[in-house]
Amino acid sequence: METTGLVSIDAREMIATLINFLIFFFVVKHFFYAKIKAVIAKRQDGISAEIVDAAEKNASAGELKVKYEGLIADIKSREREIIRDANAEGQVQRHEILEKAHSEAKVIMEKSMAEIELEKQKAMNEVKSNIVDLSLFAAEKIIHKSLDQKQHEAMILDFIDKVGEAK
């Protein structure tokens, strides 16, 4: 046996290995190549479809993003509008409430003044009525004491004359 170095080339071994490889290659090619190819093609189709789908979704997401950004802008605009309207409405309501309060206060004041005036008039009328009653009471007493029989008869005679006059 010929001794060589640590690395040597054996031609027979190389040929045998080559033949084994070829046999293995042809067996694999003959029996599995089509199936492997089909699996790879199917896988490739699937990946391609997923890529297309992803691209479509990406495009769709972009559209949606634009759309929703538009909507958000509209909403913000609407929100500002609502706040502005609410502020304006609030101002109107505040004004109305103040107006109403002033108006009611005015009515209450006028009513109170009228009631005070009425009470004042009532009190004055009562005083006046008392003065009148007192005066007439005094007059009654004076008449009662001062008229004698002759004066009464004279008044009755005067009445009798008038009874004949008026019908």
Partner: protein, 180 residues
């Protein structure tokens, strides 16, 4: 005034006119009424249910000693028979109205502070007669609240010539004037 009162009064009035004794029957009836008003016990006796009608008639005859009119006596007996004696005052009122109408007479009441003497009474009756075209029977009531002058009531009419009225008018005027 009830229908019963009017009906009985009309019956008595017809009898009085037929007998041509309206004044006599009216005077007697008024006397009877005055007596029953002043003697309440007598009226109670006549309304007592335990005494029968004939006994009550005898009592009436004894009380009035047959001096009152025969028509009126019969009439009172009918009232006893018909149990209408308690309506006698009402019947008398209706009868008086009929008699006054028949005689063209009206009752008047005059309120004064002092009693009317005869001259004033006659003068007032005469004036009222001219005013109402009826004979006036005047009744004088004393009422110091009149203060002076007189107030005459004739039916539903009032002729007020009193000092009280003048004072009341003055009071109304003073009250209606606005106090400043």
């Amino acid at each position: 005034m009830s229908l019963v009162g009017k009906r009985y009064a009309l019956a008595l009035f017809d009898a009085a006119v037929d007998s041509n004794n309206v004044d006599g029957i009216f005077d007697d009836f008024s006397t009877v009424i005055d007596l029953f008003k002043s003697e309440k016990g007598l009226m109670d006796l006549m309304l007592t249910p335990s005494i029968n009608a004939s006994e009550k008639k005898e009592i009436l005859d004894r009380v009035f000693r047959k001096s009152y009119n025969q028509y009126l006596r019969n009439f009172l007996n009918i009232l006893l028979d018909k149990n209408r004696f308690e309506s006698m005052a009402e019947i008398h009122d209706a009868f008086r109205q009929l008699v006054f109408l028949y005689k063209n007479t009206v009752e008047a009441t005059v309120l004064t502070v002092v009693p009317l003497d005869e001259a004033l009474r006659v003068a007032l009756e005469e004036k009222l007669k001219q005013r109402f075209n009826k004979k006036v029977i005047l009744k004088n009531n004393i009422d110091e609240s009149v203060l002076g002058g007189a107030v005459v009531y004739v039916g539903d009419q009032v002729i007020d010539g009193s000092v009280r009225k003048q004072l009341n008018q003055m009071k109304t005027q003073m009250n209606s004037s606005r106090l400043q």
